[in-house]
């Protein structure tokens, strides 16, 4: 592809936060019609760089050129005026306002009124151009995550964006939604838009992008000119600075059932209820639960973790019947849990990390006696775990919310594994984590499996489940529709079962 003049060019961007060099002399350019992949591990400086481009941070040095013209971007309003649109990882939408209202925010009206007719016409036009259709009068809260993301993209186009930045757009999407996103992005690029695509998922980057820039420790570690013909492991090596070997799952010798569910059903809660779910996990075995998100996985995780009482059915942990379904009871029987949402049900973001790390066991004699906390013991425990799991943070008294996703996940893992659980239930263990952190988590699971722990992994990433699990059960509309040995399982077969097309047991 011959190189047209760059749409946007960043030269020598440097941004320091105190002693942290978030960006150091970074160069980056995007041509019209080009999809640029921006790769890097968490903390490599991708988000900082994009925040500089979008006007949230002022760079310490460097310049930004748009179509050869030097520009100063000091606010998101400047960025929008310069034709830069950004789709953040956490959507910037008001859930109770309608689609159209979210689009029209900040746009001057006609004779003092909101220009509804003009907005509808523009929305319809964007829908026609790129196949991005939305019902203008639905409240955003009624949209699926995929639709909300579509709205964010439409919002950028609505404002006349010529460069679109997407920060890990596929992390929140189901596999079927990713295809739709990609075809929309290709259509936009074909019409001359520039796109910066930030992702951890190398197979997606290879499928979608024309060129890649790889960041490591705030610097450009390398560029990839032909991503489609570059292997994932070559890219991973650029990102990490060393080769990444996928973990090898050796043979294991499963023992007796350590967790059983028999005829579990739930009702009266938001989300899909469970309908007559039975499953068993043996010691030294990893069982995957696959399924499109929203098919009862959340209810299943809640029942097993003891935060939801089922209407019917029985559960046993290590041979003991669970009677009350309280978190404390299942924990006492030997269950460890890593919840889906680290920030809300995982730990308390406004408290010191050490407090969150002992929270589930705060009443045990290890951390309190006679109703009083043992601050020294809590601190020592947290310090030991921080060291053992290489959790990057200033110390145990750091506010938990200040840690990156990968470090939070390590902290949660450390908290549960320190007490040698007999069963571990984890949801989306590596969502949003980079390759290195994901690799670390996987190794820990395999080590626990070797020690005889039974592990249930609820996930949407089929490749991950196939690497990690001994058996994979598929959930559809609150039921387990089949269980496969991972030796017999393929992505195609699992994908078919996930749509409810094939039952197998």
């Amino acid at each position: 592809m011959s190189l047209p003049a760059p749409l946007i060019e960043m030269r020598g961007i440097t941004k320091h936060f105190g002693a942290v060099k978030a960006n150091e002399a970074v160069d980056l350019s995007v041509a019209p019609g080009e999809i640029l992949g921006l790769l890097g591990e968490n903390g490599a400086g991708k988000t900082t760089l994009m925040n500089v481009l979008f006007g949230a941070y002022a760079p310490d040095a460097g310049e930004i050129l748009i179509q050869g013209q030097k520009v100063r971007i000091t606010s998101s309003a400047d960025a929008l005026a310069a034709g830069i649109g950004m789709v953040h990882q956490h959507f910037h939408l008001a859930p109770r306002l309608t689609v159209l209202e979210n689009l029209l925010i900040g746009i001057p009206g006609k004779t003092g009124r909101i220009d509804r007719a003009g907005g509808l016409a523009r929305l319809a036009e964007i829908g026609r151009q790129h196949g991005l259709t939305l019902d203008p009068d639905l409240p955003v809260s009624a949209l699926s995550v995929g639709e909300q993301q579509r709205l964010e993209i439409v919002k950028a186009l609505f404002r006349g964006a010529r460069l679109l930045i997407l920060d890990e757009p596929t992390a929140v999407l189901a596999p079927s939604e990713v295809d739709g996103l990609f075809s929309a992005l290709r259509s936009m690029a074909a019409q001359g838009l520039g796109i910066i695509f930030i992702s951890h998922k190398l197979n997606e980057v290879r499928a979608l992008t024309h060129r890649c820039t790889v960041l490591r420790h705030g610097r450009v570690a390398g560029r990839v000119d032909d991503p489609a013909n570059t292997t994932s492991s070559e890219m991973a090596t650029l990102m990490c600075g060393h080769e990444i070997v996928p973990p090898a799952r050796g043979p294991s010798t499963p023992g007796a059932d350590v967790l059983t569910l028999d005829g579990i059903s739930t009702s009266k809660h938001s989300g899909t209820p469970l309908r007559d779910v039975s499953l068993a996990v043996r010691t030294g075995e990893i069982l995957g639960i696959a399924g499109v998100s929203g098919n009862g996985q959340r209810a299943l995780a809640e029942v097993i973790s003891g935060t939801r009482v089922p209407d019917a059915g029985q559960m046993t942990i290590a041979g003991q019947k669970v009677s009350r379904f309280s978190p404390r009871e299942v924990q006492a029987l030997g269950l460890g849990r890593i919840p889906e949402d680290r920030m809300t049900t995982g730990l308390v973001t406004n408290l010191p990390l050490a407090d969150s790390m002992v929270l589930p066991r705060i009443g045990t004699t290890a951390f309190s006696s006679k109703g009083l906390l043992k601050p020294d013991a809590i601190r020592a425990f947290a310090e030991a775990q921080i060291k053992a799991y290489d959790i990057r943070c200033p110390g145990p008294m750091t506010r938990a919310g200040a840690l990156s996703g990968g470090n939070l996940q390590k902290a949660l893992l450390a908290r549960e594994l320190a007490f040698d659980p007999k069963v571990l239930i984890v949801s989306q263990p590596t969502r949003g984590l980079d390759i290195g952190a994901a690799r670390f988590i996987h190794e820990k699971f395999l080590a626990m499996r070797a020690k005889g722990c039974g592990i249930v992994v609820i996930g949407e990433d089929l490749e991950e489940l196939l690497v990690l699990c001994d058996r994979i059960a598929v959930m559809y509309e609150g039921r387990i529709v089949g269980t496969l040995d991972s030796a017999d399982a393929t992505i195609a077969r699992l994908g078919l079962m996930m749509t409810g097309a094939e039952g197998h047991s």
Binding site: F17, F54, A56, Y57, S75, S76, A77, L80, A81, M86, H88, F91, H92, L93, A94, P95, R96, L97, E101, N102, L104, I105, G106, I107, P108, G109, G112, R113, I114, K155, R159
Partner: protein
């Protein structure tokens, strides 16, 4: 029982409801604008009191009631700006600052009043607003004398309701107000100034609270006393919740409260003499609590209410 019914459908009773509802409607709309933008204004009670004082004083000294109204509105805007300075610009606790504004402005009102009027055995009063019958409309039976033979400020309150709904739902500024109250980050990334929008909404709310104060001291009581507001500001805060942060529903809530208040006034007067009058005084408040408990269980406040906005920096 039939005697009570007869009283209810008297024209005078309907007119009383409208009159009682007027300051509540102003105050409720004012608080609603503030809260829709994400700022709880507990300064409302004191803002109303100080506005009632400045309005009364300006009218008394100048002889012009409309000059008094202007003074009250400006006072309300000033107190709104003070609250906004603390909570929006500096991002301090909305609870603490609101209570501070109420204590400060109440104290200031008493102090200035004493300074200007001294201690008098008979409190000074003014010739307040007179009813202003609207031609033709006031001749409609029942409704005419009740609604269209009122003070000018009452008509303003009636017009303020659709106007508030129009501004909030149909103008770009109103959309910005709702957006900064729901997700300020979204508004910011769309190029809307969160700080400016919130500041403006709180000042507009203050102006409406000022009108409420003006009505109390210049149309309802025609004098300034220390009990002239007596909790109406706090009631307005409850009515905003009851009205689910919507102009029409909030005005409806004000009307409903006024109905119960007017009813208890009649019951006090209607010779149920063996019951202490304080018991009747409680009725509107008990009603508010019960109505809130029943009707507002799933009311959802603006998501960013109470949350100060700061640009993210590490």
């Amino acid at each position: 029982m039939s005697a009570v019914f007869e009283q209810i459908f008297q024209v005078g009773f309907l007119a009383a409801i409208i009159r009682i509802a007027t300051p509540l409607a102003f105050a409720t709309l004012g608080e609603m604008f503030s809260e829709r933008a994400g700022v709880l204004n507990l300064g409302i009670e004191g803002t109303m009191l100080l506005s009632a004082m400045t309005g009364f004083t300006a009218a008394s000294l100048s002889g012009s009631l409309w000059l008094g109204v202007l003074a009250a509105v400006l006072t309300g805007m000033l107190m709104g700006a003070l609250h906004a300075l603390f909570t929006v610009v500096l991002g301090l606790s909305q609870h603490v600052c609101g209570i501070g504004v109420t204590l400060f402005s109440s104290g200031l009102a008493y102090f200035l009043y004493r300074l200007i009027f001294g201690q008098q055995s008979v409190p000074p009063n003014i010739k307040g607003f007179q009813t202003l019958p609207i031609p033709v409309l006031s001749d409609i039976p029942v409704l005419g004398p009740a609604v269209f033979n009122q003070f000018a400020l009452v008509y303003m309150a009636i017009l303020a309701i659709p106007l508030a709904a129009f501004v909030l739902y149909r103008t770009p500024w109103g959309l910005s107000v709702r957006m900064v109250g729901e997700n300020p980050r979204a508004a910011d990334s769309a190029g809307v100034s969160v700080i400016a929008t919130r500041f403006q909404a709180v000042v507009l709310g203050g102006a409406l609270m000022g009108l409420a104060g003006a009505f109390l001291s210049m149309a309802q009581f025609n004098a300034f006393t220390f009990g002239v507001v007596s909790g109406r500001g706090w009631v307005a805060i409850a009515l905003v919740v009851f009205g689910r942060w919507d102009p029409w529903r909030s005005a409806g809530a004000a009307l409903l409260f006024a109905f119960v208040d007017a009813l208890q006034l009649r019951m006090q007067a209607s010779g149920l003499g063996h019951i202490p009058y304080e018991a009747f005084l409680m009725l509107p408040f008990i009603f508010t609590i019960v109505a809130m408990a029943v009707m507002s269980r799933n009311a959802v406040a603006p998501s960013a209410l109470l949350k100060p906005f700061r640009r993210e920096e590490r």
